[in-house]
Amino acid sequence: MSRQIRLTATVLTLMLLTSCASITSVPAGPLTLGEGHPATLDREWSDISTLTARTPQVRVLTIDGLALNRLYVAQGLKPGEGLTRPMAKDKPVPAYRKDMSPNEVIEFVSDSVAAQGYQRVETGELKPARLWGKDAVRIELTAKTETGLEVSGVAEAADIGGRLYLILYLAPSEHYFNTYLPSVEALFHSAA
């Protein structure tokens, strides 16, 4: 087993080293989402979208790596699309649907987090919010990793013209979530 783990780790390291070219810097400053929806990042993030199985409209950003913080930015999901693409026909992922109620949007966000492999996903406080002048919902989440690490999350989501715009931030509750929460709040504020 230990030999297998070492081999797997070696292969993963090789993959990471050779695929560094697909990790791009997203500098602090303006960020345009979807069809002309402006927002602003107050610090640099790394875009690791191409290392994930996300749908084309979704960008995945991180500062310290996926396990320590991740920011999903869905730039207008069409009906039938989810945060990630299904790996097989008999393993569907949660998908955005036309005419979802606000509670169904909340459920979509929660189920999408669970579909990333998180366990015990629970929604906490829900508040009204605004995204690009439209009514949105702010969702606070808690979850656990498979190994039991506590994770916190916050998201804002809005249906704009029949497409779902979503900004979702997830990080371990201890240290990491609060460390970068002000930057995420600044992003929300810039997109209000």
Binding site: S49, L51, K89, N103, G124, E146, T147
Partner: protein, 425 residues
């Protein structure tokens, strides 16, 4: 999935859910003496070490059920059917929505919530646990472990080859400078993953081939243990008959063709064979239901019904969930919870007729005292979509009465305001 978890999963699937074909019985291995410890230099010592690591992992797993009464109950069933090993078997209930259970050679027992949700009586649970304990008692793990080591090494070598090939391909794509290089890398990565999955599955299929005699023996010995402890002789055949029915109700052709979970590597009707073998031992399935046994078991798992059904819905195999709900409703108990989740299943499926079916189920749920408050909220939304504004208002008001401190109260109030505002011409 980490390598360790992947191996653990392989092992888990290979144990109970393998749906082995009754075949020519292998020569029985010696019965394991209680308190057995492997020689440090033996093959089993390595397997124990892996089992210890998996057990340590499960102790901190987020999926570990936190209800000590439930764990104590399952442990009690284990001790009824295996009194001689009671002191060395450690039970962990995991909230995983699949029908499965395992027993590791070090005495670590996993029972998944998907099994507990699908068992209709303690007898059916005891049959499965009897099967697992029989693997443990007969030391079937040694043969499996040796097979697994050989097979997994071959599998790993192939997977490394495919992955390295993908790395080279991705590197080329990344350096090509094309606009779509990123998508190309992602595609190659996913293709490599698919190929690795195929190799992995082939490895599992190989593993299955070595364990089928053991599975058949465990079926028979598990049956004998359960019956000796006073459980119903038809429980095993009853449970497998249900598994076939649920699988046939799947949304997905690939699942329906597999006939039973865990049997994806077989091309013949293994579950039918298994039911036939168990029927020969204990009589045919489908006898008169033992309502006392069913109600007693339901009382044990009642507080878990809602969370387990919510987990089951995340599999998004709505046909299977609806079949499961049919089974759970047979006793006529817990209808508020069960009808609510029937409504949820139809709402999420969104096929023709599902909107009406969801509305009907939510309406039925709200006539029972155990309906969760969300049943009124979803009833309101279903009525609103039908254009029944007065009905939606009434249901939303009932929701706020049942859940005055709901975190989405502001959403319900906003919806009420919208529904009671004059309709624009």
């Amino acid at each position: 999935m980490t390598a360790g978890r992947r191996l653990a999963s392989l092992w888990a699937v290979a144990v109970f859910a393998s749906a082995a074909t009754p075949a020519a019985a292998a020569a029985p291995a010696g019965l394991r003496p209680p308190g057995l410890k492997p020689e440090p230099s033996s093959a089993e010592a390595g397997m124990w070490g892996e089992s210890d690591r998996e057990e340590a992992h499960v102790r901190t797993s987020a999926e570990l059920d936190q209800d000590p009464a439930l764990t104590a109950y399952v442990r009690g069933v284990v001790c009824k059917i295996a009194a001689e090993y009671c002191g060395e078997l450690r039970v962990y209930v995991l909230d995983r929505p699949f029908l499965n259970a395992t027993t590791a050679p070090n005495g670590y027992v996993e029972v998944w919530s998907g099994l507990m949700l699908r068992a209709q009586t303690e007898d059916e649970l005891a049959y499965v646990l009897g099967h697992e304990v029989s693997h443990f008692a007969r030391n079937h793990s040694i043969e499996r472990y040796r097979t697994l080591k050989t097979t997994s090494n071959v599998v790993l070598a192939l997977q490394v080859g495919v992955t390295l090939g993908a790395v080279v391909a991705m590197s080329g794509a990344a350096n090509s400078g094309t606009v779509n290089a990123g998508d190309t890398i992602d595609s190659i990565s996913r293709a490599a993953q698919s190929m690795n999955d195929l190799i992995y599955l082939a490895g599992m299929a190989r593993f299955y081939g070595f364990s089928r005699e053991n599975e058949t023996e465990a079926d028979r010995l598990g049956y004998e243990r359960a019956v000796a402890a006073g459980y119903s002789p038809s429980a095993g055949a009853d449970l497998w008959t249900y598994v076939v029915a649920e699988t046939n109700a799947s949304e997905f052709p690939t699942v329906r063709k597999a006939e039973a979970r865990g049997s994806v590597f077989n091309t013949h009707p293994i579950t039918a064979d298994r039911i036939a073998a168990l029927s020969n031992l204990g009589g045919p399935p489908g006898g008169a239901p033992n309502l006392t046994a069913r109600r007693s078991y339901r009382a044990t798992i009642r507080s878990h019904l809602g969370p387990w059904l919510k987990d089951d819905l995340r599999r998004r195999d709505f046909g299977e969930t609806l079949r499961l709900l049919d089974r759970l409703e047979e006793e006529g108990e817990d209808l508020g919870i069960l009808e609510f989740y029937r409504g949820e299943t139809h709402r999420l499926r969104r096929q023709d007729g599902d909107a009406a079916a969801a509305l009907s189920a939510y309406r039925a749920a709200t006539t029972h005292e155990d309906a969760p408050p969300a049943a009124w909220r979803e009833l309101a939304e279903a009525l609103r979509k039908q254009g029944d504004r007065p009905g939606a208002v009434q249901a939303l008001q009932a929701y706020l009465v049942h859940a005055p401190n709901a975190p989405d109260r502001w959403l319900a109030e906003a919806s009420l305001k919208s529904l009671t505002a004059p309709e624009s011409p």
